[in-house]
Structure formats: structure tokens, C-alpha cells
């Protein structure tokens, strides 16, 4: 490179840097499309199930009366619903502290071929101030639906 004229060395450096950055950008964009995990509500998951083994997140309400602990003592099964559809979920691990029936939950994991969502991690409300973003939206959305329903029946 030292044989080049000064202007040229600067140019070569700039071109190399730009190439590397563009390569990083393109690679990142491509990987993001493939690796980002999408957020589903039960109705979407039933209508257009994600490809099996693709990491996604499922958000909704834990249905009353659906929560049970399996015989091994550490696996739980419950049903997540959004008023339109329901998805059965299985999770092995220690549940978040405020995870109860009738409350909102976001499950990270994969939809199995048998239609059961296997969660690696559960996010629930920690306290009044710390709510997973999707859940915040979820409950708002549901509130609106409840309002709409009660107005219809009236």
C-alpha cells in the first residue's frame, strides 16, 4: 500500500472500512429476518402456526382452571387464550413469582408438531411497574374487548 500516492491510501482505507460495514449491515439484516422471534397471540398462532422449531413468543391470559403440575413436580401445563383461540403450553422450570391463573403471561419457546407450545421461559408481571411490553398492550387490548362485549350485550 505504501507505493500508492497518499490520497490513494486514504481512499483504500475508506473503501475497506465501508465494505466491512456494508457487509456487516447486509449480514445483520439478513440474519434479523431469519432469527428475530415474532410475537403471537393465540388467535394468530392457531390461524397461521409458525414453522416448528422456530423460536417465537406467545402472549395471552392463563385460562382459569387450566393450570396443572405434572407428576414430576417441575413441569406445568396450562392453556393460554385471548378470547378467540387457545393454545396449550408446557413449561419445565421455576415459574415467575406472580404467575397465576387469570393473569397475563408471555411464553418464549417453540410450537411443537403436536400443537403444544413448549416454553423455555415465562415472563409474567413482576410488580406494578415492571410488565413485559407485550403484556401491557395485551391487557389494554383485552380491556377494550371486554368493553366492546359488554356494550354489545346491552
Amino acid at each position: 500500500m505504501s507505493s500508492l500516492k497518499p490520497k490513494h491510501q486514504r481512499l483504500v482505507l475508506v473503501v475497506i472500512a465501508l465494505l466491512a460495514l456494508v457487509a456487516a449491515g447486509v449480514l445483520a439484516a439478513w440474519a434479523l429476518r431469519n432469527q428475530a422471534s415474532y410475537f403471537y397471540v393465540p388467535a394468530q398462532m392457531v390461524a397461521e402456526p409458525p414453522a416448528p422449531e422456530r423460536a417465537v413468543r406467545l402472549g395471552g391470559m392463563v385460562q382459569e382452571g387450566s393450570l396443572e403440575t405434572l407428576a414430576d413436580g417441575v413441569t406445568i401445563a396450562f392453556v393460554v387464550g385471548d378470547g378467540e383461540a387457545t393454545v396449550p403450553v408446557r413449561f419445565a422450570g421455576i415459574v415467575p413469582d406472580l404467575f397465576v391463573e387469570g393473569s397475563g403471561v408471555v411464553a418464549e419457546g417453540r410450537l411443537g408438531a403436536d400443537g403444544v407450545f413448549v416454553a423455555d421461559n415465562l415472563l409474567a408481571k413482576h410488580d406494578e411497574n415492571y410488565v413485559p411490553r407485550e403484556l401491557q398492550e395485551m391487557t389494554e387490548h383485552q380491556k377494550r374487548e371486554v368493553v366492546a362485549e359488554t356494550e354489545e350485550t346491552r
Binding site: M1, P6, A24, A36, Y38, V95
Partner: protein, 660 residues
């Protein structure tokens, strides 16, 4: 009264910053005016006033003055004293006050001691520093006043988020802020140099201690934050690629690049425009980090302020500073003369590779962090996690580490690879040898495998620059480099071995039952209720023995706080030289054969502690380099002073001789 004193000091400091801005830019035109003489004292006094305001806030928290809104919403009279104090910066307003205090003190320090640069450049630098400061004063005074009073004093405070009631918190945010602020000083130097067209090795030498200092603090902050997340969140992970973590990682990546390019500029007068650009990028990243964390655009324990007005305020500041700096750069860059040239195979060449790769990683992390925010604008909710970040950043980390093994062995300017044939062959042999051994004995994934192999080679390669040198006469800065590079290898080894060899066990156990994980066998002795100052908990008593050795007592807890109401999981750790046992207790799991069972989650994480030891070594390397540079500067200053003295003596003698 105390709150009003603090607020008054803050307003005075803001006024001084305005004076410093105007005087600084007048002084940059003509440093001999009377206005220019005001700049340095203004910076010093401003620093003292901010420190005073911050002490006042500490006082308010120490005595739990509930008539102040910030104290009432973030503290509680029953809190342990140390957490009362750390509560002062464990919230949005207090942490912004801490930020500006550190920034003003840094400005005062440069004003008081930095004399190497031309006075014009210093005036412009301090002017730029005041410009940045003013934005933050405005932010603090208009949208997040920490000293606001309540119309009616509260009866009791609301308390501090229990997740944040931890000794780690007392030090984690201040360390990161020192880092962010150091980068703002580097930014001011870059703007000053650009404004007065003085992009010289002296500029790089004046800026370097600040970058080094910022980098040390960022390293410590990230290391501490990672360990905090590891033991406090109870998920057994040490890095989640959470946007808030990325917000601290991105400035670190930029600072690392800046550090290395500033070395090239200081030693060889090359990479001038590039160094300036990195100075701007590094500060942009700390602003982006602040924006992400403080705007409420993310939900996390860090996002205290869910207030869109504040978010827009920071965004506007970001646009002004970064936009302004980029415009300045675009108009001035062509007037920065080309630096010294160098061959591709040279120390500079290797450092250019390091810089480009670090910037590429920075781009990858930035895109992954912003992508969910972008798609959210189109109402598509995604989350981006390890499946994206790990492989994509590895594509750039691997070549960077490979070059890092050879780069420090090369000479400045021009070198031949044949000259360093022997060490390169040694490193390559270690690389291939480790690879062969690992392929035979273990069946781990590609990334952990690469990590282990590269860590082994880098650990050896980092000491090769010491070869054939007199260790006693070696400059401290070289030791710093060697230790920092070795620390990176140690941390990499920890990360790779954690993901390659971790074992996990999830079980429901009754009292007296045993659970096995890796070489450990863990007996549940019992579960009892316990109480702390502001919480109650269920505590499991575990007896863990490693490989049949003496049992160690562990007591993980599930804690319930009452102000504010919240539950947390307190993990219990058993640390050995070769790893950690990590235990968490969960809910009651129904009755089994031996009575009531409890959920127990155990991890055996071989060598996981090396991650943080490595981080500490990297920081230690930075400290050594910083000390080395400072001692050199002091020595140079003394020599200069002595020379000037001798010259004065000679002149006096000559004058006396002439008379006599």
C-alpha cells in the same frame, strides 16, 4: 432548605456553563482576550457547584426528607442506610444529576491541568464541553428536577425496587456514568481539534487518558452488571443481549476502537480523520445508550422514567450533538491533512483491522438492538436474542481475535510476516492442537468450540510481545496491553466453557432427598421462613458436596418485599476455583413419596467465574496503561520545567556576564 440550596447550585452551574460556552468560542478565535481567561475558572467552579448539588441530594436521601418528591417516590425510612444513599442515583433524576456532576468535574479537571494543547484548541474543547453540558442542565432543570418539593410531605416513602436493593447497584451505575462521561470529554477534545484544525499526535495524547479511563470504567461497569444479572435475576445466565446491556456494550466497543486508533495517532500521526470520527461515534453510542435506557422506550428494571417527554428531550439532544458533530466533520474532514502512510503488514495495518471489525460488531449490535423498535413502528412485535447476536457477531469477532494474536508482534510502519514466523507458528500450533483435542474429547457446538480454541491461542499469544525484552525496563503501558489482551482470553474461556460444559438439573425434592448435577450432590435439609428488614422469605437449606467432599451449606431464598410489593429469587452460589454451583428454590411442588416437595433448580457451571476475572484483568490492563501514560506525561513535564529553568539561569548568567 437543603433541596433549595442544591437547586440554586445547579442553576448557577448552568449559568457558568453558558458563560463557558460563549467565552470558549470567543477564546478559540483569539485566546488573548479577557473573555478567554474566564473559561478555565468557569469550568472549575462549575464542577464544584455540581458536586455541591449532588452532596445535597445525598444528604436528602440520608435523612429521608419526605417533603422532596424524589425521596418520597424512591426511598423508605426502613431501608438499610447504604441503600438509602444508593437510592439517590437509583432513579432517573438522581442518576442524571450524577451524570452531570461527573461531567462538570471532568471539565473542571481538564481546565485545571491540561496544558499540552495549543490554547486555542483548549478554549474550543472547553466550549464544546460546556455545549454538551448545557443540554444536560436543560434536561435536568426543565424536565427532571431532582429537588422538586411535594405540596404536602409524604407520610412514608414508596421504597426502591427490591431488585435494585443490592450492593452491586451502589457501584454499577456510577461506574458506567464515569465511562459515558469520559467519552463525552473525548468528544469535546475531538470537536475542539476539528474546530481549530489541530488533529495532531498531541491531541491524541491529551485525549487518550480520558478514553482509557472511560474504557476502564465501562469495562468494570459491564463486568459488574453482568455479574449482577447473573446472581440477582436467578435465571443462571450472565448475558441476555438485553437492549439495556447492549446500551453499555456499544460505547465499550466504540471506546475500544477509539483507544487503539488514538494510539496510532499518538505514536505515528496516522488515522487522523478516523480517530476524530470514532470520537464522535463513541459519544453518540453513550447518548444512544442513555436514550434507550432513560426514555421509557424499553421496559426493564433500568427504565425508571416512562415519560415520552423525556424521551423526546434526549432524542433532540442526541440529534443536536451528533448531527452537529457530523456536519462539522463533513465540512472539516477534507481540511485534515493525510496522516503518515504505512504498509498493510504493520502494527497500524493490524490496528486498522481491529478498528474495522469492532465497528462492524458495533453495527451488528446496534441493528439488533434497534430492529424491534423499528418493526414496532409497523405494529410487528419481534424480539431479537442470542440466535441473532451470537453467530453474527462471531463472524467479525473471530478474524479480529486472529489478527489480535499477531498484531502486537508487528513493527510500526512496515514489517514482513517472515520476521515473526516463529511466534506465529507457535500460536497456530496451539490453535490447531486445541482444536484437535476438543474435537476428539467433546461434542460441543461450533461457537463454544471456536471460543475455547481462540481463548487458548490468545492466552499464549498475548504474552509473546514480552519475548526478548527486558521485563524490568518495559513501559507500564506495554504491560497494560499484555494484561488486557490476556484478560480477554480469560473471559472468552469462561464464556465458551460456560456454554459448552454447563449442566442443569431441575427437580422436585422433599426434605432429605438428594439431587445430582455434574460432580455435585445436593441434599435438601429443609425449608424455613426467614425475615429481613423490609422483606420476608422462604429459605431452602441445602447441603452441597463436590465429588463426595465436605458439604457446603447453601441457602437460596424466595423473597417477598412489602414496599413496593414484589417477589424476587435470591440464588445461592458455591464458588470453587473451577466453577460455580448455582441454586435457586421455587414453589412447593405438591406431595411426593417422602412428603412435601419443593422445586429446586441447580446449575453446575464450570469456569464461569473466569468471565468476570477476565473482565477485571482487562480493566487492570487499562489502569496500568493509564498510569504508564500519566507517569510519562509527568516526567516529560518535569524535564520541560527543568530545561526552562536552566535556560533562564543561563540567560541570567549571560546577562550578568555582559554587565561585568
Amino acid at each position: 432548605m437543603i433541596a433549595e440550596l442544591g437547586l440554586a447550585a445547579l442553576w448557577l452551574a448552568a449559568a457558568l456553563a453558558a458563560l463557558q460556552l460563549v467565552a470558549g468560542f470567543l477564546g478559540a478565535r483569539n485566546p488573548d482576550t479577557e473573555m478567554a481567561a474566564l473559561v478555565r475558572p468557569a469550568a472549575v467552579v462549575q464542577g464544584l457547584l455540581c458536586a455541591f448539588a449532588f452532596v445535597m441530594l445525598l444528604w436528602l436521601f440520608a435523612v429521608t426528607d419526605l417533603s422532596v418528591k424524589l425521596v418520597a417516590t424512591n426511598s423508605h425510612s426502613a431501608k438499610p442506610p447504604i441503600f438509602k444513599l444508593s437510592g439517590a442515583w437509583g432513579n432517573h433524576e438522581g442518576s442524571m444529576l450524577l451524570w452531570i456532576t461527573v461531567m462538570a468535574l471532568a471539565g473542571g479537571l481538564i481546565a485545571a491541568v491540561e496544558r499540552r494543547l495549543p490554547e486555542k484548541t483548549m478554549q474550543a474543547t472547553l466550549g464544546a464541553q460546556a455545549f454538551v453540558g448545557l443540554g444536560f442542565y436543560a434536561f435536568l432543570l426543565f424536565s427532571s428536577n431532582p429537588f422538586e418539593r411535594l405540596p404536602q410531605p409524604a407520610v412514608e416513602g414508596l421504597g426502591l425496587n427490591p431488585l435494585l436493593q443490592d450492593i452491586g447497584l451502589a457501584f454499577h451505575p456510577p461506574t458506567l456514568y464515569f465511562g459515558y462521561v469520559g467519552l463525552s470529554v473525548a468528544f469535546s477534545f475531538a470537536v475542539g481539534a476539528l474546530l481549530t484544525r489541530q488533529v495532531t499526535p498531541e491531541f491524541a495524547r491529551a485525549m487518550r487518558p480520558w478514553v482509557l479511563g472511560a474504557w476502564v470504567f465501562l469495562t468494570l461497569g459491564i463486568t459488574a452488571g453482568s455479574y449482577w444479572a447473573y446472581y440477582e435475576l436467578g435465571w443462571g445466565g450472565w448475558w441476555f443481549w438485553d437492549p439495556v446491556e447492549n446500551a453499555s456494550l456499544m460505547p465499550w466497543l466504540a471506546a475500544t476502537a477509539l483507544l487503539h486508533s488514538a494510539s496510532v495517532l499518538a505514536a505515528r500521526d496516522a488515522l487522523r480523520a478516523w480517530t476524530i470520527m470514532l470520537g464522535v461515534v463513541a459519544f453518540s453510542m453513550s447518548m444512544v445508550g442513555t436514550f434507550l435506557v432513560r426514555s421509557g422506550i424499553l421496559t426493564s428494571v433500568h427504565a425508571f422514567a416512562v415519560d415520552p417527554e423525556r424521551g423526546s428531550f434526549i432524542l433532540v439532544l442526541l440529534a443536536i450533538y451528533i448531527g452537529g458533530a457530523l456536519v462539522l466533520f463533513a465540512t472539516r474532514a477534507s481540511s485534515i491533512a493525510e496522516g503518515e502512510r504505512f504498509a498493510a503488514t504493520s502494527r497500524e495495518g493490524a490496528l486498522v483491522v481491529n478498528n474495522v471489525m469492532l465497528c462492524a460488531i458495533l453495527g451488528v449490535v446496534l441493528m439488533g438492538t434497534l430492529y424491534p423498535l423499528l418493526t414496532e413502528a409497523f405494529d410487528v412485535r419481534v424480539s431479537v436474542g442470542p440466535p441473532y447476536f451470537n453467530p453474527v457477531s462471531a463472524i467479525f469477532v473471530v478474524p479480529m481475535l486472529l489478527v489480535m494474536m499477531v498484531g502486537p508482534l508487528l513493527r510500526w510502519r512496515r514489517d514482513r510476516l517472515e520476521r515473526v514466523k516463529a511466534p506465529v507458528a507457535l500460536v497456530a500450533a496451539i490453535l490447531l492442537g486445541t482444536l484437535a483435542v476438543l474435537l476428539i474429547v467433546s461434542t460441543t457446538g461450533l461457537l463454544p468450540l471456536l471460543g475455547l480454541v481462540l481463548a487458548a491461542a490468545l492466552a499464549v499469544a498475548s504474552f509473546l510481545p514480552l519475548r526478548g525484552r527486558n521485563l524490568r525496563r518495559l513501559p507500564l503501558a506495554v504491560w497494560g496491553m499484555v494484561i488486557a489482551h490476556f484478560g480477554l482470553a480469560v473471559a472468552l474461556f469462561g464464556m465458551a466453557s460456560e456454554s459448552a460444559f454447563s449442566q442443569e438439573k431441575l427437580a422436585a425434592v422433599a426434605a432429605g432427598d438428594t439431587a445430582e448435577v455434574g460432580p455435585w450432590s445436593v441434599v435438601l435439609d429443609g425449608v424455613h421462613p426467614v425475615a429481613g428488614p423490609n422483606w420476608t422469605a422462604l429459605e431452602g437449606q441445602l447441603l452441597a458436596s463436590y465429588d463426595g467432599g465436605d458439604p457446603i451449606e447453601l441457602d437460596p431464598q424466595a423473597r417477598s418485599f412489602w414496599a413496593p410489593v414484589q417477589q424476587t429469587t435470591e440464588s445461592a452460589l458455591a464458588t470453587r476455583w473451577n466453577g460455580q454451583l448455582y441454586a435457586v428454590i421455587g414453589n412447593e411442588a405438591g406431595a411426593g413419596e417422602n412428603g412435601a416437595r419443593w422445586q429446586l433448580r441447580l446449575w453446575w457451571k464450570p469456569f464461569v467465574t473466569f468471565i468476570w476475572y477476565g473482565g477485571l484483568l482487562v480493566a487492570l490492563g487499562g489502569v496500568l496503561a493509564l498510569l504508564g501514560r500519566l507517569f510519562d506525561d509527568l516526567k516529560r513535564r518535569r524535564v520541560k520545567a527543568r530545561l526552562a529553568e536552566r535556560r533562564a539561569d543561563e540567560a541570567e548568567l549571560a546577562a550578568a556576564g555582559g554587565r561585568g
